[in-house]
Subunit: 471 residues, 2 copies
């Protein structure tokens, strides 16, 4: 939430790839030329094999699951903890509790105040942070390899021994309230929050992770302490260690700094899944803006849904495929209605949202809405072309290694692979799972998971100009 200031201007130029559709001649000659060029250079190519991700996993006596990946290219170590609690565990009238707890972790421990924590990590050029999401909370540190022990020590200290002093509690609550108020000026966030309320009505996914200006003041120090005592347990935590560290060193440091963490009983969990809406619901939010932000969607899938990979391919073709998706082709390139448009499934522990979002001139909001609904219907009506299917799969397979091209990203992915129980074969099998998706799978999941007849729609803009009509 730092103000962007002049920096924003630096990167705001149109400078990403786009495309036209006026000539679909397959560029065979160029591909052939490339293959020849590659063949010519085979003798020059580095003999090293492509790097593989082979995590080591062990469970400590207190139940803490530790994952280690050695990467010695840079003298950096990332240590990330994932605690299996998040805003879904907030009481509705105290929404924002898990986020407040996470925000207070580095505001002081029983042996270090906030200043000392900040100074110790900054003194070695490192970083220390914690944040809550819907289903889990992460706390992480990044240090130079020579400071790995300090990284373990500080991360363990904030997770195990936060002091939650009253002055820090009040100060952080005030900061989060300021953030919530500032978000009311951001049409994207306003639309997203309203959309979640419509789609997840009655389910914990309906409230914002950071709470509201009504629920946050209701949270007491006792709430924070009780939440931490109940939810932050080693047997509910995954620790990923990635970078210039050996498995033996990581194991020894985990033992030193996390070994004394006391196991506890698994907290009670309600089993309620979010329910689908059964007819279109629309919310219009009038603001004095030159553009209207549209968010349209409905319930999507959970991360453990076996259709995840088919849905990923389908959604790439629909609207996640950067500048070559159907939505971009229609809304941006052919109709010129928006600078960008995207669709996303956000899989969570339970079914998360599916949504399409865009910004368009107030006067073209109806045309953009019609364009989006048309593409959703089209995905369900007929199979995608062989070319679309092959391009989507090729992109998803080819770009897979770039999802963990930093220690930070890899530690995040590792934690989530463990959290969702995907198995480490994820790192080698993902391309094969994508490869196996057929055109029939894509049509089937489009029919099953896209619902242009019962969507939630939020529009934020000058409603007098947009004159939105339900379609």
């Amino acid at each position: 939430m730092m103000p962007t200031g002049i920096r924003a201007r630096e990167t705001c130029g149109k400078g990403e790839k786009s495309e036209t559709r006026f000539a679909q001649v397959a560029p065979v000659s160029q591909v052939t030329r490339s293959l020849v060029a590659i063949a010519c250079l085979t003798l020059l190519v580095s003999p090293l094999e492509a790097a593989e991700i082979k995590p080591q996993r062990f469970v400590m006596p207190n139940g803490l699951t530790v994952l280690v990946v050695e990467q010695h290219a840079l003298p950096i170590v990332q240590i990330q903890a994932l605690v299996k609690t998040g805003s879904v565990q907030d009481p509705p009238e105290k929404a924002g509790l898990s986020n407040l707890v996470a925000g207070l972790l580095d505001e002081g421990t029983t042996t270090r105040n906030a200043t000392q924590l900040a100074e110790q990590i900054e003194f070695v050029g490192g970083a220390l942070e914690a944040k809550a999401a819907h289903d889990f909370t992460t706390a992480s540190t990044r240090v130079l390899a020579k400071n790995t022990a300090l990284g373990f020590e500080l991360l363990a200290d904030i997770l195990l021994h936060p002091s939650f002093l009253e002055p820090e509690l009040e100060r952080v609550k005030k900061l989060i309230l300021g953030e919530i108020i500032a978000q009311k000026d951001d049409p994207g966030v306003v639309a997203g929050k309203a959309f979640s309320q419509l789609v997840f009505d009655g389910h914990p996914y309906s409230w914002p992770v950071n709470g509201t200006d009504e629920t946050l003041p209701a949270i007491s120090r006792a709430d924070v302490q009780a939440f931490h005592a109940r939810e932050y347990l080693p047997n509910r935590t995954i620790l990923a260690v990635v970078g210039d560290v050996s498995v033996e060193e990581a194991r020894a440091l985990a033992d030193i700094h996390f070994g004394a963490w006391q196991k506890g009983p698994d907290p009670a969990r309600s089993a309620a899944s979010p329910a689908a809406i059964d007819k279109p619901v629309v919310q219009l939010i009038d603001k004095e803006l030159t553009q209207t932000t549209l968010v349209l969607g409905h319930l999507g899938i959970s991360r453990t849904n076996p259709d995840f990979y088919a849905v990923t391919v389908m959604n790439y073709i629909l609207g996640a495929g950067g500048f070559s998706s159907r939505l971009m082709d229609s809304i941006r390139d052919r109709q010129g209605l928006a600078y960008g448009v995207m669709s996303q499934f956000e899989p969570r522990a339970e079914a998360g949202p599916f949504l399409v979002s865009l910004q368009t001139r107030n006067a073209t909001a109806n045309q953009a809405l019609a364009g989006v609904l048309k593409e959703l219907h089209a995905m369900k009506a007929a199979p995608v072309s062989a070319k679309e299917l092959s391009e989507a799969k090729s992109y998803l397979m080819g770009s897979f290694p770039m999802r963990f091209d930093t220690t930070h990203k890899l530690a995040e992915v590792l934690c989530q692979v463990e959290f969702y129980g995907l198995g480490f074969e994820y790192f080698t099998q993902y391309p094969k799972w994508i490869e196996k998706v057929t055109g029939g799978d894509v049509l089937r999941v489009a029919k099953q998971y896209l619902h242009p007849d019962r969507y939630a729609l939020v529009a934020v803009g000058k409603m007098g100009e947009a004159k939105l009509k339900q379609q």
Copy 2:
């Protein structure tokens, strides 16, 4: 410029480190404990040395400078070209020209249309992009190592042979215009653009890189073609190749794909440097917002200014030091006026801007402004403490390797090190140059480069509530 939608909510929780100042006891016992822990683990530590950046550099007969860094940890290759032209070369009445040229590079070449370019790169899961900045333009591609030859081929094709067809020109102009219009809803961008106009009045840094809705329509295809022919020359270009590629392979591929690029005469350059303003100038922009965005600053320094390192340390203490800067301590932690506040020097080829930016409630705008000016005066009035100096230097030295922890970041830094003529000793000497900065240096550069008596100030918010007074 993709709409943020619901994603924004995922990461908006307060979850970064902060600090209080109520107890400044040095955490000696913890540091000692860490050192002991490290000592105990020495035998377990990986034997690999910290990675060093040792670029290979060669200049091709046509003047193209090629820099190569081998990194074989991941099967990824980043190829980045920096062309020594940017928005400073735009004619004032055609501001946005260099950005439009960059945006059109991947919209079609003499042998591939935009669709073919997008499909070829996406088919291998890669990325291809180009963007202009003030002093230079970058075009880059990222591919899996097995597709390195294709990466070279496509990057060379868009740099050497863009077709600039009329339909693409019109379409991209329309997209950039849409972006410019959308930016009018973003108070941070509005403030940044107004600030640049005040600070760089009469200098090319005064106009936005992406132009304005008046200048962009004035640009013709002939303008674009002439700009490209004059400015895009191998002898004005740096090519950085980073990742899972050998120096020999990079050299061979550069020769194949860039060898035929024709050298040309260096284009004429005007020598005008931006001039400092001599008294406070204020611009108030009234908008119906709950918060006021403030941007305050003046001319800063160029990247080649020998005081760069002392200014970096000084500015870290003032307002760039994350959550432990003086501005954060005063404006955020002690007065609770803003969620974040930062100061930055943005060094460019010529003196770039120095600015402080924050968002605060409309009603507290005057108090925040007073707080900022007070800290600027304080930096000039007295030396920083030994503790502040040591913490700043320690952070800057310790975090240095994280500035190039991806192939993408390293390729960017490499290009800029060459562009500014910093020498490759930058990668080994930066920590020493920071270490050498004294408290006397910090006070001297604060006195020389901070001007709280002749600033430019832009405020965007509800001006009737903010009632800003010049201070």
